[in-house]
């Protein structure tokens, strides 16, 4: 009859639940162990290179990130990462309102450049109101004005063997003053490919919401890379280096957060 159980169902259900809980517990600790297994991590990484390739196909070289109106600008844009670098050289620059700051462009270029903030401001600029997406999950909208990176690179002349643009920053996000820690090993840096470098919305921003960039947001110059997440957008830029590979830089993965486990491609 409908209410009857099949003989096999008389097997202990509670036993089954207990077994499932035990398997669940094992699975969780197994996931932790796998998370730290380099070979397994590289398997998971395959998904990220697939994402990179598929997204590159979808967005091509010049699909623009959505732009917003003045009314959409966040009243309180969250400052994240370094917000008040204590590195001595940087403090000196702040003290002098960045009068002594120069953007150095070097590496695989035809002509090295050294540009003052005034020189940058004299170049044709682009203004865009865009959404900033943090890897943590939140979003803020801000208005950015700056020089397209492509303009700087064409002035410098990119040599054919160059593949990446590296941004070297002034800040050390970890405790730069910690005894025995070489600040150069924990200095913020980031890298992007030449496709993103040539994108019209990829700008070196010196103004935010119509005013000069303040320290929490990366003064005097920061990167805007609108089709990727916030951690790619280096703040406190000191020099731009063109390289064939970033394997020789710090952890070798192309960025401060990349060296700490995050994906180099942050389009998702």
């Amino acid at each position: 009859m409908a209410g009857d159980r099949l003989p096999s169902d008389r097997l202990d259900r509670r036993g089954l639940l207990k077994a499932l809980a035990a398997v669940g517990g094992l699975a969780v600790s197994g996931c932790d162990r796998l998370s730290n297994e380099p070979r397994f991590r590289s398997v998971l990484d395959a998904a990220n290179s697939l994402t990179y390739r598929v997204q590159r196909l979808l967005i091509g070289a010049d699909r623009l990130a959505p732009e917003y109106g003045e009314a959409d600008i966040s009243p309180a844009f969250r400052a994240n990462g370094s917000t008040d670098p204590q590195d001595e050289k940087y403090l000196d620059l702040v003290g002098n309102h960045f009068a002594d700051w120069r953007l150095k462009v070097h590496g695989l270029v035809e002509h090295e450049l050294s540009l003052s903030l005034e020189a940058l401001r004299a170049l044709p600029a682009r203004t865009q109101i865009t959404r900033h997406d943090c890897v943590e999950g939140w979003s803020c909208i801000g208005k950015w004005t700056g020089v397209p990176l492509a303009a700087i690179l064409s002035r410098a002349g990119v040599r054919p063997e160059a593949r990446f643009v590296v941004f070297h920053c002034a800040d050390t996000l970890d405790d730069g003053g910690a005894f025995g820690v070489d600040p150069e090993s924990i200095r913020y840096y980031e890298s992007i490919d030449l496709i993103d470098a040539a994108h019209p919305q990829t700008i070196l921003a010196y103004d935010m919401n119509g005013k000069p960039l303040t320290v929490p947001y990366g003064a005097p110059l920061r990167l805007r890379l609108e089709r990727q997440l916030g951690y790619k957008m280096a703040k406190y830029i000191m020099r731009i280096e063109l390289v064939q590979s970033f394997a020789h830089l710090q952890g070798g993965r192309g960025g401060y957060w990349e060296d700490r486990g995050y994906e180099w491609y942050a389009g998702i």
Partner: protein
Amino acid sequence: MAAVLTPASPVAERWYRRHAGLVRITHGINVVCFALLLMSGLQIFNAHPALYVGERSDFDHPTLAIRAHQSERGLVGETMILGHSFDTTGVLGASSEDGEISRRAFPSWITIPSYQDLATGRRWHFFFAWLLVLNGLIYLAWGIASRHFGKDLLPRRVELGHIGREVLEHLRLRFPRGAAAKRYNVLQQLAYLLVVFVLFPLMILTGLTMSPAIDSAVPQLLTLFGGRQTARLIHFAAASGLALFVIVHLVMVLVSGVWNNLRSMVTGWYDLGNQGTTDGR
């Protein structure tokens, strides 16, 4: 399988091949993917445990937020939904990690990894998201080609009329046997349709909407969902819906003949309970 069973026929079949091989395989892969996606998703959520409506985050007015604050009786976990606050110490906001009560939105036993590590959580999440999508596409293609959706999942008009009766039967934990057990009942059909054609597509589309690169390729997604932060909220809500479905689904598996159900999902064979005769209902 068009064999017409005559009620009380002495040769009524007992074993019925209930699930096709492809359904069993894709279901198995989906179980693994969904479990890992849910747990790594909660790890990602924990990095910023607040949800908002619109394009941007209005940090002072989240729709949902899970947080912790210090009180005289220690760390208190608090869940805030639409301005209403609930004490959720022990589970949400503050829970035990390595024997010590600590600040975390979702507890360590339900996140991958168990400790706070957004970078690794993202790696798990995107790997199994790809697997889930590819697996789902295979299932969809097969379901259409084999007419599985039309034949097995789409309720017939008569079946829709049985909803009330089915609800009562479910509440009394009475489930069909014999020939009637060959077909999904109407509540199953509706639940599976909701999962396959509403909740999973919502998960995937809102997940993609959170990608700044996808937003530049398909900005219509932002219009469809009302902004990136709303998409994130829907992603969370749809995941909660799927988790709720899984709980109900597992309870149903458990109370409607657990070994029979498990066997049919592994080997395909379901015991109709005909011990030589049908029950003639």
